[in-house]
């Protein structure tokens, strides 16, 4: 635990001594606001809820989370610091978790930055705060899943641009897999079980379920196990090809 904390601390410091952290937070807050106000019609739909705000989170994460994740390992490879990191007396698991938790915590900070929205709806009306809290939790979990995918893919290359594009594509597939567009492709030839499996992998389906205010165990388990799976692959990838 101690080592994970130390790694995470160094990462977080790394975010804030470069403009990265500030630019990310400003853009995240501007975009969440812009989507909610202009596209989601936050004011004109006359509802005291943050649904129009949360609804766009998957699409924002699609771009912004791979941007955070792409440097996690690719940069270490590029600059050779991976050789320092992996010859310190820590395990690969600790390194992977430390980096992941730092990035996830950082996204959490950005998410907390949106709390004026929450305050605003409470001032203007009488929203269901349980639903909002559940939505925040769901949004944070979904960000974690995107991030785990991005971290794992970042470990495969030393080129950050490749890491970004591949991670964004994989995240896109996971987001979209519940939609007709993707399912139609599978329905033509795949057995029913596979189609259902693909559909059940959809971030949108699970996130929308949580956004209704119903926190079901299976949605939590879905995101948690997805994070665990990708981080596990991440560890294996680092162990196998840290030197190449």
């Amino acid at each position: 635990m101690r080592n994970i904390r130390i790694i995470a601390k160094r990462e977080i410091i790394g975010y804030f001594i470069t403009p990265l952290a500030y630019i990310f937070i400003v853009i995240f807050l501007s975009l969440t606001g812009a989507f909610a106000f202009y596209i989601g019609r936050f004011f004109t739909n006359g509802q005291a809820s943050l649904e129009s705000f949360f609804a766009y989170h998957p699409w924002l994460y699609l771009i912004l989370v791979p941007a955070i994740a792409m440097r996690l390992w690719a940069e270490e490879r590029k600059t050779g610091t991976i050789e320092i990191l992996m010859t310190l007396p820590i395990s690969t698991t600790e390194a992977v978790l430390g980096k992941f938790l730092a990035a996830w915590g950082f996204i959490g900070i950005a998410l907390i930055g949106t709390s004026p929205m929450w305050i605003t709806v409470n001032v203007l009306g009488d929203p269901d705060n349980g639903v909002i809290l559940a939505s925040y939790l769901g949004s944070f979990l979904m960000a974690g899943a995107f991030l785990a995918i991005g971290s794992c893919i970042s470990a495969l290359t030393k080129n950050q641009v490749i890491a970004f594009i591949v991670a964004a594509t994989v995240c896109f597939l996971f987001t979209m897999s519940g939609l007709e567009l993707v399912l139609n492709f599978f329905q033509a030839w795949a057995p029913e079980l596979l189609v259902r499996t693909v559909a059940s992998m959809s971030f949108l389906t699970h996130f929308n379920a949580i956004m209704q205010g119903v926190i079901e165990l299976r949605d939590l388990v879905f995101f948690a196990s997805l994070i665990a799976f990708w981080l596990f692959v991440n560890i294996v990838v680092i162990d196998l090809k840290k030197a190449s």
Binding site: K9, T79, T81, I84, M86, T87, S91
Partner: protein
């Protein structure tokens, strides 16, 4: 037991390339081993395996009794490692970087402070402590890397080209540092600079094509030089014949060769048989014949020559077409 590092048939294969080919050796506390070899000889790969960065394909390496593959964390705890090129987190300041290393190495509070201060003092980093590492000069970057490796006062130090990119004064400083630390540590360095081996290493290992070709004290290696213990004599040109005549009778003399003829003087190189010391015998002859001598010294041989001889001549048979082995 003072044997800190034990390699047994250590081998690393990258696909078809045999990077390290069955290296076996032991290194004890108090020794400074210099890895010598042409580029791509397998020096860095060997060091990376010892530091636990890559795993051997076969064979074993033990650090302080711990196998590098089975107990990587125990091994890493006991090693200070400076990778090739001394990478570091460029956007951190030297101070916060060393702070991070200290914490991972298990130091907190005042002990952490004390360790950092001590190592900063040792490598003379004080003036740039608050600057981001990426803005530092090459020499300072290298010293940050050294500080990182030495911070926990490890039993084992493995440094890949520790003086690369340093100016002559800094090189001197680092060599002093290595010598100073060698008292109670086992140290491995790799280098291209042969004079460095003579300056700091108690032992030199020559590696080429992944194989250990020579292993001994720098003096042992020098003894392989054809000029080792040769006497170089400068006399008036008129005296050349007298010298030759006098020395021909000596059994220990293998050959006499004129290496330089300038103005009225000649320089003669007298090579001994079996590297024996013949200076006294030569001096006796000269004195007996009353030959006036301008200068006389004993050649210690050159590592340069030995290095070239070993790494080029001992080229593996199957590799001849590749044209490798140029130092």
């Amino acid at each position: 037991m003072t044997e800190k590092i034990v390699l047994k048939g250590l081998t690393k294969r990258f696909g078809p390339l045999l990077a390290v080919d069955g290296i076996s050796m032991t290194i004890a506390s108090g020794e400074v081993l210099g890895f010598l070899g042409p580029n791509g000889a397998g020096k860095s790969t060997t060091m990376r395996m010892l530091a636990g960065f890559i795993e051997p394909t076969s064979g074993t390496a033990e650090i302080c009794g711990f196998d590098v593959t089975r107990h990587p964390v125990e091994v890493k705890r006991r090693i200070g490692y400076l990778p090739e090129g001394a990478p570091a987190y460029g956007d951190m300041t030297a101070e916060s970087y060393l702070g991070f290393i200290a914490e991972v190495r298990g130091f907190d509070g005042p002990e952490k402070r004390r360790r950092i201060d001590a190592v900063v003092d040792k490598v003379d980093l004080g003036e740039v402590l608050r600057q981001p590492i990426e803005t530092l000069s090459k020499g300072f970057k290298r010293r940050v890397g050294l500080a990182q490796a030495m911070l926990h006062d490890p039993e084992i130090l493995i440094m890949d080209e520790p003086t690369d990119g340093l100016d002559p004064n800094q090189k001197h400083q680092v060599r002093d540092l290595i010598r100073e630390m060698s008292v109670d540590k086992a140290i491995i360095i790799s280098t291209h600079i042969l004079e460095e081996v003579e300056a700091v290493c108690s032992r030199a290992a020559i590696i080429a094509h992944g194989r250990l070709l020579a292993d001994g004290t720098p003096e042992d290696l020098l003894a392989r030089s054809s000029d080792y213990n040769a006497v170089v004599l400068t006399v008036d040109a008129a005296q050349e014949d007298a010298v030759r005549k006098g020395l021909e009778g000596l059994d220990a003399v293998k050959s006499i060769k004129k290496t330089k003829a300038e103005n009225d003087t000649v320089e003669l190189r007298i090579r001994p048989r079996k590297s024996t010391l013949i200076a006294a015998d030569v001096a006796d002859v000269i004195r007996a014949r009353k030959i006036p001598v301008r200068s006389m010294f004993v050649n210690r041989g050159s590592l340069d020559e030995v290095f070239r001889k070993i790494t080029v001549d001992d080229k593996p048979v199957d590799d001849k077409a590749g044209g490798k082995g140029d130092a």
